[in-house]
């Protein structure tokens, strides 16, 4: 009973056409280029909630996604935090998984092979406790078949060492990004933390250090207390808040960062519908990722895709590019 047994006959397509050839005449074009990665559509699975894709492929064809950002990978396996790791809050949830992961080599051996035939782009989220660890993962993944890009998670609020420190300070951001940049030719996204006073300074530091794109936002740091036990509810005390509750915060940061850098932005945080996705794109995102939404609606990526197509068709727009960032210069104010 190998939990990672790769079921090639699942309902995923094995050809790599990404749907490019299937465009029915006149349907608008959802393709976008994110940080050098050609995506069939701008909807990605956010890192974490989607794991390594094994499970969600049982619910839908992975090729309907523009890309998958796999759960954070570190050089060695990480145990993760003690339970409880989850809690629900109004409009959101806290998680304190603690970046549990099987480590780089297990990922390459057991997870990546199953993803290769999935018909979507694979971006590996990289975590580490030191610059060297980030660099080690990046250099090992460089040139590995089936990997289309890296996302450096310098922002996870759950891990005491590493994570928090890099992403809350331009200098250390710059340091880790430029070091990793030297190790890889793969498209490099940097995932930013919202737990900062000025996200644009971090964004600019990452851009100057050689990032190809920016992902934002990671979770907001939060906690709950179990009043019966009179103690923190989560095993790790603190956890990351995600879901619709954080959407306005995420949208504002995407807006600010898109206005501050030239590289493309992958927007995420509470996206729950095509209308939400459109808000992110109009704020300046090139593409969007969904995380928490998958938990309560596994059909969300399909619904967003249909919704974006309908919107473009109704508005007689040929492609999403036409509305990217448009809210930063609304008609009449240009």
């Amino acid at each position: 009973m190998n939990k990672k047994h790769c079921q090639a006959d699942l309902n995923s397509k094995t050809n790599h056409d990404h749907g490019f050839n299937k465009k029915s005449a006149g349907r608008p074009d959802l393709r976008v280029n994110l940080a050098g990665i050609d995506l069939a559509n701008p909807i990605l699975a956010a890192s974490g909630p989607f794991g390594y894709g094994h499970q969600y492929r049982e619910l839908f064809d992975l090729s309907l996604l523009g890309g998958i950002i796999v759960k954070g990978i570190s050089p060695d396996p990480w145990e993760g935090n003690p339970p409880p790791r989850l809690a629900e809050t109004t409009g959101g949830m806290l998680n304190a998984v603690g970046l549990q992961n099987p480590g780089l080599e297990n990922f390459l051996k057991e997870d990546l092979p199953c993803l290769r035939g999935s018909g979507t782009k694979i971006i590996v989220n990289v975590v580490g406790c030191s610059v060297d660890e980030y660099a080690a993962v990046a250099s090992r993944l460089d040139g590995v078949e089936g990997i289309d890009g890296l996302e450096l998670n310098i922002s996870c609020p759950n891990v005491k060492a590493g994570g928090m420190a890099f992403g809350t300070d331009p200098a250390s951001t710059s340091n880790v990004v430029s070091t990793v940049r030297k190790q890889t030719g793969l498209p490099l996204l940097i995932k930013l933390s919202p737990n900062v006073a000025d996200i644009t300074s971090i964004a600019r530091a990452a851009e100057e250090a050689g990032a190809d794109g920016l992902s934002l936002i990671n979770t907001l740091s939060g906690m709950l207390i179990d009043i019966e036990k009179r103690a923190p509810l989560l095993g790790n005390t603190f956890g990351g808040l995600s879901g619709p509750a954080i959407m306005p915060v995420a949208l504002k940061m995407v807006w600010q960062v898109a206005g501050a850098v030239k590289i493309p932005v992958l927007g995420m945080g509470g996206i729950n519908s095509a209308r939400d996705a459109l808000q992110f794109i109009m704020a300046g995102a090139r593409a969007v990722a969904v995380g928490t939404g998958l938990f309560y609606n596994p059909d969300l990526p399909a619904e967003i895709k249909e919704g974006l197509l309908d919107y473009l068709q109704q508005q007689r727009l040929p492609e999403l590019k036409s509305i990217e960032r448009i809210a930063q210069n609304p008609k009449g104010e240009e």
Binding site: G48, P82, P83, R85, L86, E88, Q100, P244, Y296
Partner: protein, 263 residues
Amino acid sequence: MSRLNKQRGAKPKQENCLVGNKQIIAPGYCRLTLHAPLIAREVYPGQFVEVYMPPEHQPMLPRPFSVYKANRKTGEIVILFEIKGQGTRLIAAAEAGASLKLLGPLGNGFPELPSGAVLVAGGMGIAPLVFLASSTDLPRTLIYGAPTVAQLACPSSDLDMPGLTILEATEDGSKGDQGTTVDLLLRCINNAGAVFACGPCPMLQAVKNISARAAVKAWVSVEERMACGIGACVGCAVATPGGYKRVCKDGPVFAAEEVILNE
């Protein structure tokens, strides 16, 4: 002892289910019948379903429930649950004829019952064990306990099965023996073919200890808060000697020695 659901490939299905018969069992329990043919066809005892919330409601995350009964022919499944918080309140409010979205079957169920199996249910732990008890006609014993009779929510008609011996206990003596399921288990552990338990953590821990001492194989169904329910998010971790495992995918049924139960 082979797993009933050895066909691990059985993929979870999202199903829009018609709500059928609903019984609110005073005070605060609900027995809900759902027309879920895809799930009913494949589910095995010990597996569970995630029930999604109706849209535009708080909370958002689906709620996990063991399958309490499944009828392959009629395509119906039944869940029995305590109305505890917002989520269960909403589900219990669904009226016959309404539609609820389900995901299932999920998780690893119980292995096949050997002759002389002892099933130990603490409170709502009864839910998966009723389904399990119905999976064989071999002689078997169900130990069912709770603090008071009010928490013995399972309608007794649902427990009327050939070959099933029922022992009940309440801590206040309001039904059955005065005492706990653990007291009853101690009485019959030496003749047990194997033990299958579901209930609060301290009970499971006692079941584990008692079975180990008697060298009887024991299986426990554990609970943890869930998000995805399918093994992707690693949110429902339970400690095991070999590191954290996922209740939703590696469990909820574990060999007793496989899990570290706390509380």
